[in-house]
């Protein structure tokens, strides 16, 4: 620990074990986007770095927000987002067409995206304040179900199935870890097993239904929706172990790969960097970030921060899992980008908010242990 004397304390106290892997991931993402743009910084790679810098600052700021502000802000933030979601729906109806954004003049806001960390925050707050004895009663579940259900339904109406699933997944994970009886999940799972086929036939839009059928058999629609999955698999598979080399991806550069800079950025990467690049990204996510996030949650000083950190980790995990399963042909095509690699400000902001809150929890536990 000789470094202690050399490196100044404020610098030393930063959570480098997270910041360094994150920076590496984002730099790699920028490189992929640079290649996807045909060897140019703009419009994607430079913007990606800029997004990272801005939202990293946001995450650092969030990590320093005191715990009581989180708990105080939980319900007001949630309520504000619900209002905004209704507003989006209303503006969309009036404007004659679905939309997911609100133009605030100086920026566009996508409330459904911000709802992903906020649903975790509000549920963590809810369970932290619920008397332990009530955890097995309906009062542990029904309010939580409503908190989750209202935004989920509003987002589905947009219609944005991917984001709605992400909101539900984060929420269910928090409810699960809060300790509600396991048989509720079993019966919930059974109910989902019955509802899913019904929803498929009656609730889903045609384009969503098509995505599911095409996922089951991509070759059935080689020129339509199956084209995305097939081309993505070709990109990944043709990359081999070491890839075709930086800037040499034919699938992305000759435009066979759709959305090569957003949803299918992983395929763009895998074509040029091969299995090695893919395992690097998997390692950073699964061996570093998620282990760190779950570890922070386990070491957290109280119930609120435990649920908060675990919920945030699961939210990022959901992005990563669904995106990568999609590009490898294990999940239907849903528009979910790969955190820190895909181009896009909204998802960068959401993921950095999640990181910021986990860092905040980490700070609280340090302080708690120092106090002890």
């Amino acid at each position: 620990m000789s470094s202690r004397s050399i490196i100044p304390a404020p610098l030393r106290q930063q959570p480098w074990h997270v910041l360094l892997p994150l920076a590496a991931l984002n730099t790699f993402g920028s490189a992929v986007l640079y290649s996807a743009a045909g060897g140019r910084m703009w419009p994607w790679a430079g913007m990606h770095m800029l997004h990272f810098a801005v939202f990293l600052a946001l995450a650092m700021a969030v990590s320093r927000v005191p715990r009581h502000l989180f708990t105080q802000a939980a319900f007001p933030a949630y309520a504000a987002l619900i209002v905004l979601l209704v507003l989006v729906e209303a503006v969309g109806r009036i404007g004659g067409g679905s939309q997911r954004w609100l133009n605030l003049g100086f920026m566009t806001l996508q409330p459904s995206e911000t709802m992903k960390p906020v649903i975790v925050l509000v549920l963590a707050h809810f369970y932290a304040n619920l008397p332990p004895a009530m955890i097995r009663s309906w009062r542990a579940l029904v309010p939580a179900g409503l908190l989750m259900g209202v935004p989920a339904v509003l987002v589905i109406l947009q219609p944005d199935l991917g984001t709605a699933l992400a909101i539900c997944f984060g929420a269910v994970a928090v409810i699960f870890m809060a300790g509600v009886p396991i048989w509720w999940f079993v019966s919930g799972g059974l109910a989902a097993g019955i509802i899913a086929p019904l929803a498929y036939f009656f609730a889903l839009h045609d384009y969503q239904r098509k995505r599911v059928t095409v996922f089951m058999d991509p070759e059935s629609d080689m020129l339509g929706a199956g084209y995305h999955i097939t081309q993505s698999k070709i990109a990944i598979g043709s990359g081999g172990i070491f890839g075709k080399g930086f800037g040499n991806g034919t699938q992305s550069h000759l435009e066979y790969l759709p959305e090569s800079h957003t949803d299918f950025a992983f395929a763009t990467m895998a074509e040029e960097w091969g299995l090695i690049g893919g395992y690097f990204i998997l390692a950073v996510f699964f061996l570093v970030l998620f282990r760190w996030g779950m570890g922070v949650a386990r070491r957290a000083p109280d119930r609120f921060s435990q649920l908060l950190a675990a919920g945030m980790t699961v939210t990022i995990f959901f992005y990563v899992a669904i995106n990568m399963m999609m590009v490898m042909g294990l999940a239907p095509v849903v528009g979910i980008p790969l955190p820190f690699i895909s181009h896009g400000g909204s998802s960068m902001m959401t993921n950095m908010l999640c990181i910021g809150m986990i860092m905040a929890v980490e700070r609280w536990s340090k302080r708690a242990s120092t106090l002890v």
Partner: protein, 705 residues
């Protein structure tokens, strides 16, 4: 877990929840780990195990192999002049499967290329019939400005393929239509037969009719190929490598291009066929059937209006009359009948008296010349075409021997020519009639057959073969391919003296007191020999078949001839369908033969006639098309090009020829001929011979010359 704890402890403490969280977060962590392992495994599977497969797929995405249609082999005449050639060309095709908005694309194409409503309608018709990747031609022979303008717009017009290549070109257009045929884009049926990528390559065409179809395999050649790196939208990033095409093999014909064109144009506005054969080798020097379609225009795709124009024409331009038209030959069979008589031992100087008819039992069979020919021997029987002479002696030897001789001379036969099936027609004899109609042969059947009427049906090619055999004395086989090895012509088994008699009679048809004086060549030192024939339209018992009556009822006119008389070199057969008798055919035969000895003289004669007909066949077709365009516009019915329209028309005419003719119950009324008594300068279209009287019931009128 919560449930189990619930059974043991009713009170739940903060600490128990913390334990529960620890356990459940392990479950979540395990889920994450499981997904991580799943993803890592899947990634390894795709990138390592399936690597070769996906590498191949990426490569087939990246590299576009496009075929370069091979240049088609030329079709050459005997002197190396092209009858079908290729010329450099800018063309535009559509690939139906790649079209996004067909109507919009067509509208834009119409604007850029200057297509009119009729063109666009034809393209839409073809689009409706095309499947998938079967290219549909939009325009050929574009000029550079239009081509360049379109190429610039191509990225905005998916499914539009502009390219430079070669297109088929027939220098004399309609004059070679039925002989050479035409080419066209392969249709779905062709592709089913031959699953070849080349067939759906834009700009590639296969032979659809005539020689183009028969020799398609030789003419086709080997396609070139271009490997290029392309984007998903089909834009070429760079060329990787190019392999040149190997042009198809040329075909050399025995045809004389100039003669073919001259003969076709000389037929003028008539419907007819001219065939010229080299008497020494059997080489076919000209073989034309007019009117014809224009193979240049057909090769670019058959439009509604053009199809309607051809289908409406009662001169049946879609039928190759040389091979598929069947006509009663009239008196042109008389030389063959005479040969049969000689073979049966008849002395050519033995004579009968023709008083205008021949009484057999209680019936009278009339000669075409009701005034009678007086004393007629074989020579006079030929040059005056006396029916009574032939009635008299033919009955004595019987139909079998006459029919056998007709067949030996070439009637009823089909020949080894690379032009597909030929309609062979009928040479009737008693056995045939028994087989066909279950009836006995009657005297009037012999009467009909010896003057080339009744059941006798021949095609113009057979007529040309007959006259080439009469001229050469050998069993000449017609041939069309220059390099085809043919054995020397066989022996007909007919003594030279017999031919001398026939030829001398045929010489006098033209140069003596015969029926074909107008056929005399404009060269004092070259004598031509020939035989005229007029034949009543089958099934019509109509007295007067001359030029004055409705076209469909007019007599067919034949003339067969050869020259020079003393050393036969060229044989020619002319048929003019519904020409009003042989006077329509005689001058055409004369001019075609003139061409063989003095081309300039022949062209000069044609130059005085063509302006009166409205120009060359090509000019007349163009003028007619303009009239049709003005009259019908886009209202013509659509053409079904899924089959081969021309082939369909031809097989339909074959089927019609195969249907039994009505059974003959009497002698056919012979058609009049220009008589020897007719003054020589009589206009070609108005025969001077007296018209035969209408057939009285129970009586037959004779005729033909």
């Amino acid at each position: 877990m919560a449930r189990r704890r619930g059974k043991t402890a009713k009170h739940i403490s903060q600490g128990m929840l913390r334990n529960s969280f620890d356990r459940r977060s392990v479950v979540i962590g395990a889920l994450q780990g499981g997904v991580g392992v799943l993803l890592a495994t899947r990634l390894g599977y795709l990138a390592v195990a399936e690597n070769a497969h996906y590498q191949m797929m990426a490569e087939s995405n990246r590299v576009n192999l496009s075929l370069i249609p091979p240049r088609r082999g030329w079709i050459l005449d005997r002197q190396g002049q092209p009858l079908a050639a290729n010329r450099a060309d800018f063309r535009v095709d559509l690939i139906p499967d790649r079209l996004v908005d067909a109507d919009k694309t067509l509208a834009e194409l119409g604007q850029i290329l200057g297509l009119d409503a009729i063109d666009i309608q034809d393209i839409k018709d073809q689009l409706a019939q095309a499947r998938g990747f079967q290219p549909v031609g939009v325009a050929e022979h574009l000029d550079w400005e239009k081509f360049a303008a379109l190429s610039v717009r191509q990225p905005d017009l998916p499914g539009v393929v502009p390219q430079r290549g070669f297109s088929r070109f027939y220098p004399t257009g309609p004059c070679v239509g039925h002989l050479v045929g035409y080419v066209g884009a392969a249709n779905a049926k062709d592709y089913e037969k031959e699953h070849n990528q080349l067939l759906i390559t834009p700009g590639f065409k296969i032979g659809k009719d005539g020689l183009e179809k028969q020799f398609d395999a030789d003419l086709r050649g080997v396609p070139g190929a271009r490997r290029a790196e392309v984007t998903a939208s089909g834009k070429i990033v760079r060329d990787l490598e190019t392999r040149e095409d190997i042009p198809g093999k040329p075909i050399e014909l025995t045809i004389h291009a100039g003669l073919q064109e001259y003969a076709a144009r000389r037929i003028g506005v008539e419907s007819g066929a001219v065939t010229v054969i080299d008497c020494r080798s059997g080489d076919i020097l000209a073989m034309c059937s007019m009117p014809s379609y224009d193979p240049n225009s057909f090769s670019a795709g058959i439009g509604r209006l053009e199809w309607k124009m051809l289908a409406d024409d009662d001169h049946v331009p879609l039928r190759n009359k040389t091979l598929h038209g069947l006509y009663p030959p009239g008196s042109t069979v008389k030389p063959s009948v005479a040969l049969a008589l000689l073979e049966a031992g008849l002395d050519p100087h033995e004579a009968v008296n023709c008083s205008g008819g021949l009484q057999v039992g209680n019936r009278v069979f009339h000669c075409w010349n009701h005034h009678g020919h007086g004393r007629v021997d074989m020579f006079k029987g030929i040059y005056q075409s006396c029916d009574v002479y032939f009635y008299h002696f033919a009955q004595k030897i019987g139909m079998e021997r006459i029919a056998a001789m007709m067949r030996r001379m070439g009637l009823g036969q089909s020949f080894d020519l690379p032009l597909g099936k030929q309609s062979t027609g009928t040479v009737p004899d008693p056995a045939w009639k028994q087989r066909r109609y279950h009836q006995d042969w009657a005297i009037y059947d012999t009467v009909n057959a010896t003057i080339g009427q009744g059941y006798v049906q021949v095609n113009p090619l057979q007529q040309a073969v007959v006259v080439s055999r009469l001229a050469s004395g050998k069993a000449l086989q017609p041939r069309l391919l220059r390099n085809q090895h043919t054995p020397p012509p066989g022996d007909l088994g007919i003594p030279q003296e017999h031919f001398d008699v026939i030829r001398s009679g045929m010489r006098d048809v033209i140069n003596g007191p015969g029926t074909g004086g107008k056929a005399r060549l404009p060269f004092p030192d070259i004598l031509m020999a020939g035989k005229s024939g007029s034949a009543q339209v089958v099934g019509l018992n109509y007295g007067n078949g001359k030029a004055g009556v409705a076209w469909k009822r007019r007599d067919h006119g034949h003339f067969i001839c050869f020259a020079p008389f003393d050393n036969p070199r060229f044989a020619c057969a002319v048929l003019i369908e519904h020409g009003g008798g042989s006077p329509a055919a005689i001058p055409i035969a004369r001019d075609v033969m003139t061409y063989l000895f003095d081309q300039q003289k022949a062209w000069d004669m044609l130059a005085t006639m063509e302006p009166g007909w409205g120009g060359t066949p090509q000019q007349r077709m163009d003028a007619k098309y303009r009239t049709y365009a003005a009259q019908y516009g886009v209202s013509a019915p659509r053409v079904d090009t899924s089959g081969e329209p021309v082939a369909q028309v031809q097989s339909a005419s074959d089927a019609a020829a195969a249907t039994p003719q009505p059974v003959q119950s009497d002698a056919a009324p012979p058609a009049p001929e220009p008589g020897a008594e007719a003054p020589a300068p009589a206009p070609a279209a108005t025969p001077a011979a007296p018209a035969p009287a209408p057939a009285a019931p129970g009586n037959a009128t004779g005729g033909g010359h």
